[in-house]
């Protein structure tokens, strides 16, 4: 027997980590992400100015604008960076040599996802840090902000899973539009319930039901208003929302892995 037969590929986690770190490095060395981050920071700063226009509500407005900025710019990152990093790998054919290595396709998907999550963690941390700093300087309370930021991250993780899924088979424009559409309709799932009540028995109602159940209920993950207005969440709400978000993301990722497993690269 020769020594070659003893050669073992990397531990599956090592390959995922290597691909994830490389993805993160690509984003960090790209200007687009900084552009998004700078805009977000400007908006958070401007929220201070907006708050001056209203008397007695400064704290609320800063929190409201700040959290919205984190959410919206986070989604922009998830959509654009998420779609482009996967697409580039296929379009520029770096995936040819990557997959010629002892790397399984699901490891590629998992690695890309891990790298993108790392990018989002960094973005959300920077933006939240900025918001907290402004609140501290003004002597406002910070309660609710860390939890709201965490739930925004969970929402972004879910949106990113969709970005990966769509990039696994669609061109980048379609993938970006699709991801954005999931984000928007995901916040409007309640409206399908309302719509259903107004429709006659039939196809329309069924469609509403399907959309209501198939789309992620992003409103469920949104605890911004509690953070801003100081309302309390029901017991166990956070945990179940956390499980809902991560379970959904995992399911979407699994589908992305299956699509990647079956496709050709040419």
């Amino acid at each position: 027997m020769n020594a070659e037969n003893n050669r073992r590929p990397a531990h599956f986690g090592a390959a995922v980590a290597a691909i994830g770190l490389n993805t993160f490095r690509e984003a960090v060395r790209d200007r687009v992400m900084y552009l998004i981050l700078v805009f977000a920071l400007i908006l958070i700063l401007v929220s201070r100015l907006l708050s001056m226009l209203t008397v007695g509500e400064e704290g609320r407005i800063i929190k409201d604008v700040g959290l919205s900025a984190i959410s919206i710019f986070g989604v922009l990152t998830a959509v654009f960076v998420g779609v482009s990093l996967v697409f580039k790998e296929i379009e520029k054919r770096t995936i040819y040599t990557l997959l010629a290595n002892p790397v399984q396709r699901w490891q590629f998907v998992a690695g890309k996802y891990a790298g993108l999550l790392l990018v989002l963690v960094m973005n959300v941390l920077v933006m939240t840090g900025m918001l907290l700093l402004i609140l501290v300087v003004r002597g406002e309370s910070m309660t609710g902000i860390p939890v709201a930021a965490l739930m925004i991250f969970v929402e972004l993780a879910l949106v990113t899973a969709f970005a990966l899924l769509f990039s696994s088979f669609a061109n980048p424009i379609l993938a970006a539009v699709g991801t954005a559409a999931v984000y928007v309709t995901g916040h409007l799932t309640w409206s399908f319930e309302l719509l259903k009540a107004r429709l006659p028995e039939g196809v329309g109602r069924t469609l509403c039901d399907v959309l209501y159940w198939a789309l992620p209920n992003l409103g469920y993950l949104n605890v911004k208003s509690q953070a801003v207005h100081g309302g309390a969440l029901p017991d166990g709400y956070l945990l179940s929302a956390l499980l809902y978000g991560s379970g959904y993301a995992l399911a979407v990722l699994t589908v992305a892995c299956i699509v990647f497993e079956r496709r050709d690269f040419n």
Partner: protein, 306 residues
């Protein structure tokens, strides 16, 4: 244990959706091939013959419509088979935001090498492919030749038993081509198997043990080069400056300036021509024995297809 073939392709068929999604374009139709350990095999054919498609199916980037590929007796989807191969794609491109050492280090991780092992291999491989100089540059500043060298580097970083190269010499200057040839020969010296594709025949003629000629997705010719190409000269071309003595002045094949090209069929005739020229005021510039080259064979196969 008997060593099975390194590459075993049987009945490989692959088609793509046709233009505008109409019909199907068959790129490879029923290819059978087996390559043994330590061979240098050249898959040759004109552009669009199906070489790249075959190579991609070999490493599992494309799923065949029918047939199968085995590398070391395993399907290419098996990571333990892929751990033993190195692959250079056609016109490679790598992450332009990395430097060459960063890129190779990344691939070293995918092979499960530890930090010290990666550093050692990256250094040795960069030196081997002649990329020492460009080590701190981002890859976006690399020239075509440097990218090709880096492509070779990533293909041999992990000391694979089988190296698969798609058009490894395309886009290189003569020195670069020479270096790639030398590298391929070195790999064979080390007991590796090399499988490469090319549409340029001279590349293959010098180094291949065996070639396959593929035209329109079918393997037309498969064999040992010496047997495929007759080694006895088939005719001689003699370049003469000045007036060619009769009766050879009727055999002039082409003329450029005061130089004319005369075709003679065999050695005896060649001797008589040379003697006659020596007697005359004209002079012999060159004598070129013409063998049937791989190129001639290749042209015949392509012509047969039309």
């Amino acid at each position: 244990m008997a060593e099975s073939a390194v590459i075993e392709i049987s009945g490989l068929v692959k088609s793509f959706k046709g233009h505008l999604g109409l019909g199907r374009k068959v790129a490879v139709s029923g290819l059978d091939l087996s390559v043994g350990r330590g061979e240098i095999f050249g898959l040759l054919g004109p552009n669009g013959a199906g070489k790249t498609t075959t190579l991609k199916a070999m490493i599992g980037l494309l799923r065949p419509d029918a047939g199968s590929v085995r590398l070391f007796g395993r399907p290419p989807s098996d990571v333990s088979a892929r751990a033993r191969i190195g692959f250079l794609p056609e016109n490679p491109y790598f992450y332009d935001y990395l430097t060459a050492p960063e890129f190779l280090d990344f691939y070293g991780r995918l092979h499960g090498f530890g930090r010290a092992e990666r550093r050692r291999r990256v250094e040795a491989t960069l030196e081997r492919v002649g990329l020492d100089a460009g080590r701190s540059q981002a890859l976006r500043k690399f020239s075509k030749g440097m990218v090709q060298r880096l492509g070779l580097a990533q293909a041999i970083l992990h000391d694979p038993d089988l190296v698969i190269l798609d058009e490894p010499m395309s886009g290189l200057d003569p020195i670069g081509r020479r270096e790639v040839r030398d590298l391929i020969l070195e790999l064979r010296e080390a007991g590796k198997t090399v499988f490469f594709s090319s549409h340029i025949l001279q590349d293959a003629e010098l180094i291949c043990d065996r070639v396959g000629i593929v035209v329109e997705g079918r393997l037309r010719h498969l064999g040992v080069l010496d047997q495929m190409v007759r080694s006895k000269p088939r005719w001689f071309e003699v370049a003469v400056r000045g007036q060619v003595p009769s009766p050879w002045d009727r055999e002039v094949a082409s003329a450029s300036g005061e130089k004319v090209m005369v075709k003679v069929p065999d050695v005896a005739e060649l001797g008589r021509l040379l003697a006659a020229v020596a007697e005359s005021p004209a002079e012999v510039v060159s004598v070129w024995p013409r063998r049937e080259s791989l190129e001639d064979l290749f042209m015949k196969e392509v012509a047969r297809e039309r």
